[in-house]
């Protein structure tokens, strides 16, 4: 048992040495690819990042439509960022493939891409083309449209009420998008952060497993001695 303890102590020293070296070598922590995805005035924008630091630069990103067909493929810039304007608002899935087995994907829904940048009246052909993704206007406007006319003061004639409602909605969306972006980024970062508690929990788990194994083996060894 003394030998085991000495062994454990020596290994603990070695562990410390290794950990110190590793800490010196590696300033950042952790390892997993994550994706921040947002929309800006009808564009899909965002960036991929490794948990703990580093952005995958010059790697492929692929935009696929709701049916899973690839509609666009590009390369991220040196900050791991990308930006692409789809032809029409629809549900899109963006996948970033870091090229070494790290791979992450996220989705953007059609209503986040809608705005006056699009043809104001979605044509029936557009609707028929994307049955999986309902055009945003009919679903989004009923909620806000009734409020808008009530809130506006008596309006001069000649202003298209629908166009105004759409414009207001678009501007509000854009402002919200701008305001929420830092929050969303912070959330993505926080979600991927390594927590010291988790690290210690993992180590505790390993110590517990070792203890359980030692306990079991010590019982196994003692049993034959006690019987006689």
């Amino acid at each position: 048992m003394i030998a085991v303890r000495a062994l454990a102590r020596r290994l603990a020293v070695a562990t410390l040495v290794v950990a110190t070296i590793a800490a010196g070598v590696a300033p950042a922590a952790a390892h997993r690819l994550k994706l921040f995805l947002t929309t800006e005035a009808g564009e899909i924008a965002g960036y991929a990042f490794f948990v703990g630091g580093g952005r995958p630069d010059g790697v492929d990103y692929i935009v696929a439509d709701a049916a899973g067909r690839e509609v666009h493929r590009g390369r991220t810039d040196e900050h791991g960022a990308f930006r692409w304007r789809p032809v029409s608002p629809a549900d899109y899935a963006v996948t970033v493939n870091a090229g070494d087995g790290h791979w992450v994907s996220g989705t953007v829904t059609a209503d986040r891409l809608a705005g006056p940048a699009w043809p104001t009246e979605p044509t029936s052909a557009d609707r028929a083309e994307k049955p999986a993704s309902p055009p945003p206007e009919p679903t989004a406007t009923p909620a806000t449209a009734p409020a808008t006319p009530a809130a506006t003061p008596p309006r001069p004639s000649g202003i298209d009420e629908d166009a105004l409602a759409r414009l207001v909605e678009y501007r509000v969306d854009a402002a919200l998008e701008r305001r929420l972006r830092p929050l969303e980024e912070a959330y993505e970062r926080a979600e991927g952060r390594l927590r010291f508690n988790d690290v210690m929990g993992g180590i505790g788990m390993i110590v517990g497993l070792a203890g359980a194994a030692l306990w079991a083996s010590s019982r196994r060894r003692r049993d034959p001695e006690e019987k006689p």
């Binding site: 603990a12 070695a14 290794v18 390892h31 580093g54 010059g58 790697v59 390993i206 194994a213």
Partner: protein, 207 residues
Amino acid sequence: MAHIPDGVLSLPVLLGGGALAAGGLALGLSRLDERDIPATAILAAVFFVVSLVSVPLGPSSAHLLLSGLMGIVLGVKAIPAIFVGLLLQAVFFGFGGLTSLGVDVVDIAFPGVILGTLAAPLLARSEGFLAAVVAGAVAATAVVGTLACVALALALSSADYLPSLRVVVLTGLPLAVVEAVVTGFVVAYLKRVKPEILPFGVAGATG
């Protein structure tokens, strides 16, 4: 790079990796003597922590694996240690998927174990700087082996995921060098200070 997420690998690859890992795990556990438990647990903890620390390298990021060191010190028993470390990383941090756990274990543990076992006679005879060089070579080759296994697993699943050679070389080679330095240093230190820790440390000793 060795943590492959869920949903990337195809079912045959997952099943094959799982079967190999289960076999290795059974073998490792059967060799796990009571006296080996503390060393195995401590190296599992080292592996768990050290793979959390990663360096942003070029288009990707890399972290130490220490699979060469574990293969040298623990032999087959490195497989259960790495399995536990990977399982906890997957559960706590989402590094690597649970379904791809078997493949990850094979990717990381097997090269280190095989190379460590092969190099054991050579390490037993060498001393000082030579031992460090041999151990470093084991570690560097283990990293290359891990990269090759990951590439193979991805390529077998889908040509889309075939790792780009540029990324692998840019991140893999520096990692191999760092692993070699760390492992060489640790093994040479252990050989000088506490040779009985190493399975081949004392001349004539076995297991």
